[in-house]
């Protein structure tokens, strides 16, 4: 592990005063897609620091580049300008070191593999022993509440269960960084609330850094320690808001003054930059 102490900042929430490493450092990053209709500025001059252990939400309307930014972090896209470090290295090295786990919008489970075999996939690829694989699978499937589903195929599970399985799959390799692209976007609101609470519990237990893409204000407030508000055309960061709410939240918090105030602040940031046309 590289100890990069370049941008130590004071944490504003829960445990003030703890010095933390920068997990993701983005400086002047731009990404232009060349399309048939000319260049598209997917990301424009992004500056962002994400500390270890933070839960950061990227929020904004469609086309604001939040998913693209996540994909740059994951080395699924490359920036055309500016720089980015992930755990002090390039995104490619971070990927090759298997630093992160990526949870897609769809569960992306392989239909010919059982849930257990699906969870084993990343560990098979990184060459872990079967014994270790099984231990991890048992641990994380029970953490996401899928204890008795080892031998089931994805099509035998509901959408919410499939998404939980895909989160367990990402957790099995115990990555330092969890990248989540609207993982609950396709779920109904009731399931989504439940998943949010579950995700917070997992985050508390594992102490990962999480970067979470969403277009739901309530979800961003519910989960995050830091909220990055983005705006489209060109995709850019308009505001970075540190959450005053406690680290561990419960659903009852949603009816409090502080929750509403933070939601209003995000909504204002979105509206101010004409993020929503």
């Amino acid at each position: 592990m590289l100890a990069v102490e370049s941008s130590i900042t004071e944490s504003t929430e829960a445990d003030p005063g703890t010095a933390r490493r920068t997990m993701i450092g983005v400086k002047g990053l731009s990404l232009v897609f060349e399309t048939n209709d000319g260049p598209v500025n997917a990301l424009s001059d992004i500056n962002l620091d994400i500390q270890e252990g933070e839960f950061v939400s990227l929020i904004g309307p469609s086309g604001c580049g939040k998913t693209t930014l996540l994909r740059v972090i994951a080395d699924l896209e490359q920036q055309t300008d500016g720089s980015i470090t992930v755990n002090g290295t390039t995104p490619e090295d971070a990927r090759l070191n298997r630093l992160y786990g990526y949870v897609f919008q769809a569960s992306a489970l392989l239909p010919w593999r059982t849930i257990q075999q699906n969870c084993a996939l990343p560990m098979e690829i990184s060459g872990q022993s079967t014994e270790h694989q099984n231990k991890q699978i048992d641990k994380y499937l029970s953490m996401v509440g899928l204890n008795d589903f080892h031998k089931k195929y994805p099509w035998q599970l509901s959408g919410g269960m499939q998404q939980r399985a895909s989160i367990a799959r990402a957790l099995c390799i115990e990555p330092d960084l969890l990248l989540m692209d609207e993982p609950f976007g396709a779920l109904d609101e009731i399931t989504r609330d439940h998943m949010n609470v579950e995700l917070l519990k997992i985050w508390e237990q594992t102490q990962k850094t999480v970067v979470f893409v969403t277009h739901s204000i309530a979800e961003a407030v519910m989960l995050s320690t830091k909220i990055v508000v983005m705006s489209p055309r060109p995709g850019r960061v308009v505001s970075v808001i540190d959450s005053p709410l406690p680290k561990m939240k419960h659903l009852g918090l949603r009816d409090t003054e502080a929750f509403h105030a933070l939601s209003a602040q995000i909504r204002a940031a979105l509206a101010h930059e004409h993020a929503i046309d």
Partner: protein, 289 residues
Amino acid sequence: MHEKWFAIASFIVIIIGAWYLFALLMNGNQLVNNYERRNMDWTISSVVAEAYQVKRPMLPAPHQVIDELYNTVFDTRITSKRSLVFHTLITLQSTLLGFLLGTALGILIAVGIVHNRTLEASLMPWVIASQTIPILAIAPMIVVVLGAVGLTGLVPKSIISMYLSFFPVTIGMVKGLRSADSLHMELLHTYSANAHQLFWKLRWFSAQPYLFASLKVGIAAALVGAIVGELPTGAQGGLGARLLSGSYYGQTTQIWSALFMAALLGSVLVWLVSLAEKVLLRRRGLAHE
């Protein structure tokens, strides 16, 4: 359900009816010509009665073919050269060997094409050209060339079988290996999977539905190849040899029964592939997407 069976039954009745009608017209015409040449008297009813009994008819009636099939399948020892089962087994042997070789070759070419752009450009035209040449034209050459290096009997027939059956497998597998979901490809990219892992953990399984569709076409083509292969080899056995000797001696009933056996064999082989597909794909959850 009843309607379905009614439709199927009606269709069969129509086909058999049409067959009897054509048998009457074709054989009757022949009979009438015969009578007139010999200046014999004839009536419609005598022609109708005789048209279905001719020893070497232009078109044998269904019951004559069934008779011949019954005699050569059940009433003849399997070891006898008059047994249709004996000939069917010979053809089956080269069909299966040719099918296995063709499948292996087809998959191999597809893997090469999918992994290498140069191979695609250099190999694909030949693969396609190979299928535009009539198999009847190339089969004797394969037999002669392989005969020159001492390969006779089963091998040349299987090679001809392979020649026909690799093509659908190649085309299907190229498509199948490229059909991997882009999301799954990205997922494996985030795991830093190498090309080898990408193939065995993703592409191979994504290709399976395509593979089975190809195998069904491939095994039918392999059977055609085996039968065609038996024609120029002057083979002593096999359905192809049966067809050939039938046409030499004007034994139309023998030809038709061999054709029926070939059709039956083809149906059973395709059905077996479908069965394997169902079992395998269902177990792997691929049938439920």
